[in-house]
């Protein structure tokens, strides 16, 4: 009797397993591993499992995704790619060009992605006019984070332009605070430079320089001006910044050691975690000189070609889920970003996110929406690497010449296009 019971149980288990198999599994490679991000991914997992599919988590932490990319390459080359992987920007095109990605057009059509997504976002997610990836969120990179308490103590005005910035920095320094908190690593230097470049070039020349890689603009007078301002900013950060991470810099603003930080809106997560409220404990406004411009960074999942029919169904379900209002809301509130769909209510979001959405809508209407090159949204890794080298070397060399740097930038970008 016992034997019979046991085998029945085993049989039931088998059936359950095979049924789950019949419903398909999605394996998702990502590096959303920090507190808020991990929670956000958990939501996606739960929603997918509620529909009966299986979620196989494949999180590879470390190196801003470079560790994950190494794993992904090995898996893809050996013919066993995951269903979805966190790939963004032009890398999507590179993977698609190699023939690894699947076509999501049927899902896109059923879910009306063409109506829900802004044109620039559609373009990034498509290869030769076909959807190959699904966006999860929109980050704005050109933010200035401000501790108003420090400004009050230093009797300084919150800046909207670079001249105002330098005037305020002088007062803040005199009052014994650090004007700008900065994480001094190549990535951080490039993120800061992007804000400066966007303010000096404006969206059109920015696109020409960093998307079309136009040599004339790259070494033009506006770029020289950007480097000049960038160099001047170096005097307003503390000498101890090299090697610091961006979130440590954010904490300097939170603790009132520093007055400002220029960083994307993932910095908000740090403020939230410290129990700070936007508008009261801290302010978020566009980086100096970039009012109305929106430098965007989109996290997305690229979908790989699979063989198993059930798994393909699960993959489609995942793709459809990612643009559902519920996921968009929960994920983006956890991550500090805004929904990629512009038709959703922003009621439950905080003031910064609401401002971000407003700017996003306005910028996509005026053509002032630009892809963030510092966050790998505009160029291949090779080109970005060359830009990063020039920018970080310039920023850390006290004797560097802005004119020479602009020329080096043009040469370096050209040499990356082999």
């Amino acid at each position: 009797m016992k034997m019979l019971k046991r085998s029945a149980a085993a049989l039931a288990l088998c059936c359950a397993a095979s049924m789950a198999q019949a419903k398909g599994t999605v394996e998702v490679l990502h590096w959303w591993t920090s507190g808020g991000e991990a929670r956000a991914v958990g939501v996606l997992k739960n929603m997918l499992e509620q529909e009966g599919y299986h979620w196989k988590d494949f999180a590879v932490a470390g190196g801003g995704g470079s560790a994950a990319m190494t794993v992904l390459k090995t898996r893809a080359v050996s013919g066993n790619p995951p269903a979805a992987a966190q790939i963004k920007g032009p890398s999507i095109q590179e993977w698609a060009k190699l023939g690894f990605l699947t076509n999501l057009d049927p899902v896109a059509k059923k879910e009306h992605w063409n109506q829900e997504l802004p044109p620039l976002v559609q373009k990034i997610m498509q290869y030769k006019g076909h959807y190959v990836a699904v966006p999860a969120n929109v980050h704005r990179v050109n933010w200035l984070w401000v501790n108003p308490e420090v400004f009050k103590k230093a009797d300084a005005q919150i800046p909207h332009t670079w001249p105002e910035f330098f005037a305020a920095a002088k007062k803040i320094k005199a009052a014994g605070f650090i004007p700008l908190a900065h994480g001094g690593n190549p990535w951080g230097d490039t993120t800061l430079f992007e804000a400066v470049a966007l303010s000096q070039l404006g969206p059109d020349d920015y696109r020409k320089a960093f998307v079309d890689l136009d040599q004339n603009v790259l070494e033009g007078p506006k770029m020289v001006e950007a480097f000049t301002i960038f160099k001047k900013i170096h005097d307003d950060i503390d000498s101890n910044s090299p090697g610091r991470q961006w979130n440590m810099a954010t904490h300097m603003v939170i603790n009132g050691k520093a007055a400002m930080q220029i960083m994307g809106d993932w910095a908000k997560g740090e403020f939230t975690a410290a129990g700070k409220v936007p508008g009261k404990d801290y302010e978020c406004l566009p980086a100096p000189g970039t009012q109305g411009d929106f430098s965007l960074n989109i996290d997305s999942l690229a979908m790989f070609q699979l063989k198993d029919k059930a798994d393909i169904k699960a993959q489609d379900a995942l793709a459809a889920l990612m643009l559902q209002p519920k996921f968009q809301r929960v994920f983006n509130m956890a991550k500090g970003s805004i929904p990629v769909r512009t038709d959703l209510s922003m009621k439950s979001f905080d003031a910064c996110a609401q401002a971000s959405m407003k700017a996003f809508k306005a910028a996509s209407k005026d053509g002032r929406l630009v892809p963030s090159f510092s966050q790998s949204m505009a160029d291949s890794d090779a080109v970005l690497g060359q830009i990063t080298d020039v920018v970080t070397n310039f920023f850390n060399d006290p004797g560097a010449d802005p004119k020479k740097a602009a020329h080096q930038l043009a040469v370096a970008v050209k040499s990356a296009q082999l």
Binding site: P186, N240, A382, N396, D397, L418
Partner: protein, 309 residues
């Protein structure tokens, strides 16, 4: 085992022993074969593979469109590669030189039949037991002006004290030397101490009788006797410095900017984070070439002179 005994006890002894002889002749080769194959494929095979890749336009995946020496031309035009190579020369020369000097000094002092020698020796040798990651992290904290030594001195009231090499772009490479010397000089000391112990005391006594003073004895007699020790110490330190990667990765990550970059870090960055496999392969081959150019003549002269002795 039992079958072997069975075979041995069979009256017809001749063929059995021939089998055993055959096994004895082949067994070492069989046992060595897998590791030999692994070395052939894993070291030399991939060396060739890297060389092949360096002539292609491989981006983030290997490709086989050959572009001749284009990757090498790009490499030589690359400012960061220049910085990395100059840094390697600075780092390598200082690291080897200071380690040798310190190691020899410590060894000579320890050789003066002092008390507690065993304990002191262990103290100096201990850093070698740490991983370079740990060494790098600790020294990054110590040398960080806002966290380590400089802050400590300021807190103690010595406010004019300045030691901020770690965050200065033209000095950061020297901080790597400090950490690397701290790690390895004890090991060099141990090598030389062993060498010193191997020297016949009667030579020293004879020199004393001839009226030579102690510094002269060491300089003129003992150190020249230790040529093989110099050889092994330099070999070990040289390869440590050329492959140096983990130390710079954790201590400065090549920064500020890329001012403290080293070729190994450059190679890793290009190949694995920037999707420029071709360029990374070219830099790897250049490093290999540099090692061969330096080491082959040295090895050749050292090993040949030994044969003459």
């Amino acid at each position: 085992m039992s079958t072997q005994i069975g075979v041995l006890s069979v009256p017809a002894k001749r063929p059995a022993s021939r089998v055993i002889n055959l096994i004895q002749a082949w067994l070492p080769k069989l046992v060595l074969a897998p590791s030999l194959a692994l070395v052939l494929v894993g070291v030399y095979g991939y060396m060739i593979w890297t060389a092949v890749l360096s002539f292609t336009n491989s981006s983030f995946m290997p490709s086989f469109r050959f572009v001749g020496f284009a990757q090498y031309a790009r490499l030589i035009a690359n400012d960061r590669w220049h910085t990395a190579c100059i840094n390697l020369v600075i780092f390598g020369v200082l690291f080897i030189g200071v380690c040798l000097a310190l190691g020899i000094f410590l060894a000579i002092f320890l050789d003066q039949k002092i008390r507690q020698e065993g304990f002191i020796r262990t103290v100096y040798l201990y850093p070698m037991a740490l991983s370079l990651i740990v060494t790098g992290t600790v020294w990054r904290w110590i040398l960080n002006p806002g966290l380590g030594l400089e802050k400590l001195m300021h807190d103690w009231g010595w406010t004019s004290f300045h030691f901020d090499w770690l965050v200065r772009s033209h000095l950061s490479v020297y901080t790597l030397v400090i950490a690397a010397v701290w790690q390895s000089s004890g090991f060099v000391m141990a090598l030389f101490l062993a060498g010193l112990r191997g020297i016949d005391p009667s030579i020293i006594k004879a020199a004393r009788v001839d009226g030579a003073r102690l510094p002269t004895i060491y300089l003129r007699i003992i150190l020249p006797c230790m040529r093989p020790v110099f050889f092994s110490a330099i070999m070990i330190l040289a390869h440590l410095s050329i492959k140096s990667f983990d130390l710079v990765k954790v201590m400065t990550a090549g920064g500020p900017g890329y001012s403290s970059d080293l070729p190994a870090l450059f190679m890793y960055d290009m190949s694995f984070t920037r999707g420029q496999l071709g360029l990374g392969a070219a830099s790897a081959i250049m490093m290999l070439g540099a090692i061969l150019a330096l080491l082959v003549p040295y090895l050749y002269s050292e090993l040949r002179s030994k044969r003459h002795d």
